[in-house]
Symmetry: C2
């Protein structure tokens, strides 16, 4: 065992204890999502693939686990005035739903150019939409204003120990459902998902490998791992709209120490993997959700001798929130 693969307590923003606590806290609210497989895809990949279907999670993505854990970790006084986040993505819907379940207001700051289906999701789950301009400054200013006016608590979509712990519950379920896994492939963006997954999985089975899948057009995690420090990019360019965030100061140390490698894939491969999810698995995934399959089918992965012996691979299908019309156009390109 490599030293870097070992999980030591209290070193990171979350650990196996906080993840098990999260499981108890959110267990009655979340879906225990199924793991499915396809021999047709196994034949294509040359390995056994086990897909953890977080696209079936409430809110349509894994984000609900972390949001739910964060919201229900607040004591009554903290929670009384509600919660705030700025997000145009899956965390916005997830936090809306978690706040609704707690019976407190969820204020969601959304840039005016956000996709229609994401805004609808927020409204569907009872979130209070507050518009901002699309630049970061406007989003932060709006957040500050909302915090002052409401006394609500700001929750970060990924750079938060409670969120990381919630996402880690995926591994607790997955390794019960598929204890034979040699490796788990997880999409990486801000690092909340993969941090939780890696902390829990390596605590349960130190030999398991955790690999990140990242779009070429937003490969800050690959660059960060290579540089040994957080790298941010001046701009990102990928169809995977959920994977454009950068690592935070709480997720970075976990990604640095516990993620065994980052596999980068082109958007074209993401779209092809999405099509396989639809046609073979019969599961609706968003581009970010399909990237794990794209990674395992990539030449980089197939031809790397280091990964030759990974026979049983878990893939987290992280979400399924996609505008079908937009999606269809990408298939037809």
């Amino acid at each position: 065992m490599e030293v870097k693969g070992q999980v030591t307590a209290e070193k990171y923003a979350a650990d196996i204890s906080s993840i098990r606590e999260a499981q108890l806290r959110i267990g009655s609210f979340i879906h225990r999502t199924p793991v499915i497989s396809s021999e047709t895809l196994d034949a294509i990949a040359g390995r056994k693939l086990l897909f953890k279907c977080e696209c079936f999670q409430k809110g349509g993505s894994f984000k609900f686990r972390g949001a739910c854990n964060a919201v229900f970790s607040l004591d009554d006084d903290q929670a009384a005035n509600g919660v705030v986040t700025h997000s145009s993505g899956n965390y916005a819907a997830a936090l809306s739903l978690a706040a609704k379940l707690r019976g407190i207001p969820g204020y969601i700051i959304i840039p005016k150019n956000a996709p229609k289906c994401k805004v609808e999701n927020v409204k569907r789950y009872g979130g209070r939409v507050i518009w901002s301009e699309s630049n970061l400054r406007s989003r932060e200013d709006t957040a500050t204003k909302v915090l002052q006016e409401t006394g609500a608590v700001l929750l970060h979509p990924y750079n938060d120990g409670r969120t990381i712990s919630g996402q880690g519950t995926i591994s607790l379920e997955l390794l019960e459902q598929a204890p034979q896994l040699d490796a788990i492939i997880v999409p990486i963006s801000g690092g909340g998902l993969i941090s939780g997954v890696a902390l829990a999985a390596k605590s349960i089975n130190p030999a398991i490998r955790v690999l990140a899948a990242e779009p070429m057009g937003a490969n800050d995690a690959a660059q960060s791992k290579a540089a040994g420090r957080i790298i941010t990019l001046p701009e990102t360019n990928t169809i995977a709209d959920g994977l454009r965030a950068f690592l935070g100061d709480l997720t970075w140390p976990i990604v640095r120490d516990l993620v065994d490698d980052v596999i980068t894939v082109e958007d074209k491969a993401i779209v092809e993997a999405m099509r396989l999810c639809y046609e073979i698995l019969k599961v609706v995934v968003e581009p970010s959700g399909a990237i794990g399959l794209a990674a395992v089918l990539s030449d980089d992965f197939r031809n790397n001798p280091a990964w030759k012996d990974y026979c049983n691979i878990g893939i987290v299908l992280s979400g399924g929130n996609v505008d079908l019309d937009v999606l269809w156009d990408s298939f037809r390109k």
Copy 2:
């Protein structure tokens, strides 16, 4: 309990014993498909809906259960020369795969105008495609010729006790996964699926209701139930290409006695239900697969006082084999 709801042994082509035997026979070959739910859809329906995802079954539909049971029920001498069927639908792929697993030839007679994706499915699973003209006479003549030349065994897609028993294993799983069900809604075509589901479900829980969902443009089962005898139609007209067959002499008595009612729905409602499956459930279903959801959302069902107290409803999402391009056009109409 109504007398007509009671299941008596040896009266029909299958019974709970043959269904339990089927479960033992096919258990290692099939997927135990997950049951998923959505509070968003529950709110729309005004009831708790539990979706049995047979679209994730091998071959992409429930048909593999029956095909597998039929093929593995043959003794070695019977099986030696292979199996034949004429089908352009899901049974063709299912039988191809079952034959491959048994290590025998699977001859599939397919009309020349069959959808491309269905033919590809047959080939993917190792079936031997034999073309016929699209009329019934040509298909039967071709089948006779293949039987004479090969000595293979003809297997019927639904009018066969072994097939019905295989489909019945769905209820065994579903009532373990969701024992609280008050009713199960099942697509009806030739009646093989609903016969197996009804026999097993009512044997386990005589109080459970089994409802058929049928397209208005192929409503032979509704007409048959009303007339008290098998009615066939001069033509059918529905987007649900899997639901155009008519009841057989083995399925009809079961449908007559054990199916509590038939709910007919327009194609427009089927397309709308498909869209909900994609957008809310994140599951890819073919039109036939979505009809159960369309039925439970129909005014006929909602407004019928007889069904008012059905709070927990199982819906069989029967299959997910759909040409995505064709599908998309139907969404955009």
